[in-house]
Amino acid sequence: MITGAEAMVKCLEAEGITKIFGYPGVAIAPFYDGLYSSKKIEHILVRREDAAGHAASGYARISRKPAVCCTTSGPGATNLLTALATAYSDSIPMIAITGQVASDLLGRDVFQEADITGAAESFVKYSYLVKDANDIPRIFKEAFFIASTGRKGPVLIDVPVDIQQQKLKNKFEYPAQVDIRGYKPKTKPNGQQMKKVITAIKRSRRPLVCVGGGVILGNAEKAVRTFCKTFSIPVVSTMMGVGAIQSSDPLYFGMLGNNGKPYANLAVERSDLLIIVGARLADRAIPRPKYIEQAVSVIHIDIDSAEIGKNLGPMIPLVGDAKNVFTELAKQDIAVDTSDWLNALAEIRKSIVDHRVFSDELIDPNELVSRLSGRMEDDAIYVADVGQNQLWSADNYVMKNGRFMTTGGMGTMGYSIPAAMGAKMAAPNKQVVAVMGDGAFQMSMQELATIKKNNVPLKILIVRNRVLGLVREYQLTKFRKRYIGVDIDGYPNFDGIAKAYDMPYFEVTEMKKLDSVLAEFIACDEACIMVAEVHGEDVTK
């Protein structure tokens, strides 16, 4: 009979997993030995454990299926925590496998022991501490099911080393069905609630749809676009929803929130019915929930009933899968005349003047993002990191038929390089660019080795302003320019880094050369690094 470790590998194979991002150690060694014999699964060795999690996240977002990462016990597992929290707050389906000390040593504080299921409890969808190897097939089947159904999320499987070595009693058989008590994700909307939603839309004069990341996670982009187009209902987006609607869509009014377009926020305030779908509406998206509650009627559509009413008050709730809901809504006879409302919105858009001044000596970050995303291939993948680069990206990204990815929930710096690497591995034929500041780059630049070693032709764009720009901007507006801890000028020498990892390097410091350097950068067919010099005084608002 096979061992627990071999069973784990067979389970992953049965789930169709072909890549696993990880970092080995003693407590996970039997599982790695199992991987050695697998012809179907390729192991990608990252350079730090959190990158394994982010890479799996990028892979999952593009393949739209759960992706797998694995680490050893203790520090390996705790290094993975940030990636788990990041995936959890963005609802990314992911399976994290951690090694654990032998089950008879649990709780004795032996070498490299950490209570990882306990530590990760508040940011995994579910977790398992495996106590018997015979449970492995059932546990893996359940884990993949839980991660990929309902509101998606990471599932952690912690496997003590002796359980990995334990022989299974019976012949390995991967279960065909799952039966989890108390877990029945609701995807079909309730008929009564659906009627209320339809009536509310019919009655409205100034309806507005707000799309969140749930629209993309639920593969509902097309359904929502069709709905909006059929009834001429305008749309705004949260940061996680960027990319759900194409930029060229005349009904699209940009990203809302305190980092978004002022006219998108005005659209929300002037609407009489806000149809929110797949968004949790946290503080960055709706800074003044009290105002919205008083002035606007709200329909909240989400697959997770616990999201409804969490951040925004009285509303018409509708629990269900976004794709189901909007496919159904588009079939309804909802005649609303929105022409006056659309004209009013167009006026609002025209009336808003951008008062920001960008240094003309260096690169204008807004132009950088719109020209880069505008010129990449139609289905290119754009991964924004965290900070000013993220806000400039979300604000100016040109969505055609590609994907925009960022970590809107947790805001984890250093996400973009490993996530873009995972994305590129999931879609080797698509152009992938990771855009980050010089701060975030230095949080994940160890992964350049993984990229080079595995021949992942990824584009890395560093928006260099020599400061931790978003924190500096905060100190500018809220702390009377008492700048502290935000100066990262000086090291490293970026062309030296590119040289050390044997990657082509591009640099642009003046606007007139931006187009030609971008063209070379986009055309480069191997992993490469580009630095665009932006003034440290440039702000996002």
Partner: protein, 79 residues
Amino acid sequence: MRGIFSVLVENKAGVLSQISGLFARRGFNIDSLAVGETENPEISNMTIVSTGDERTVDQVEKNLNKKTRCNKSPPAGGK
């Protein structure tokens, strides 16, 4: 508002902290808590009494519903 939650959970290590964590994370105090095995030894029954504003009670209820492998009976309300 007082919320009384009766929850059926798996009878295994770590479940109590998962459930109580739902309350703790929201800064929600537990007034009383009783746990006992049911006639099915794999399942325990938890009775939790807690006080908070209506919105928080509602959130805790929804999150208990969401907890995988946890069946909750409707809260016996009361002010």
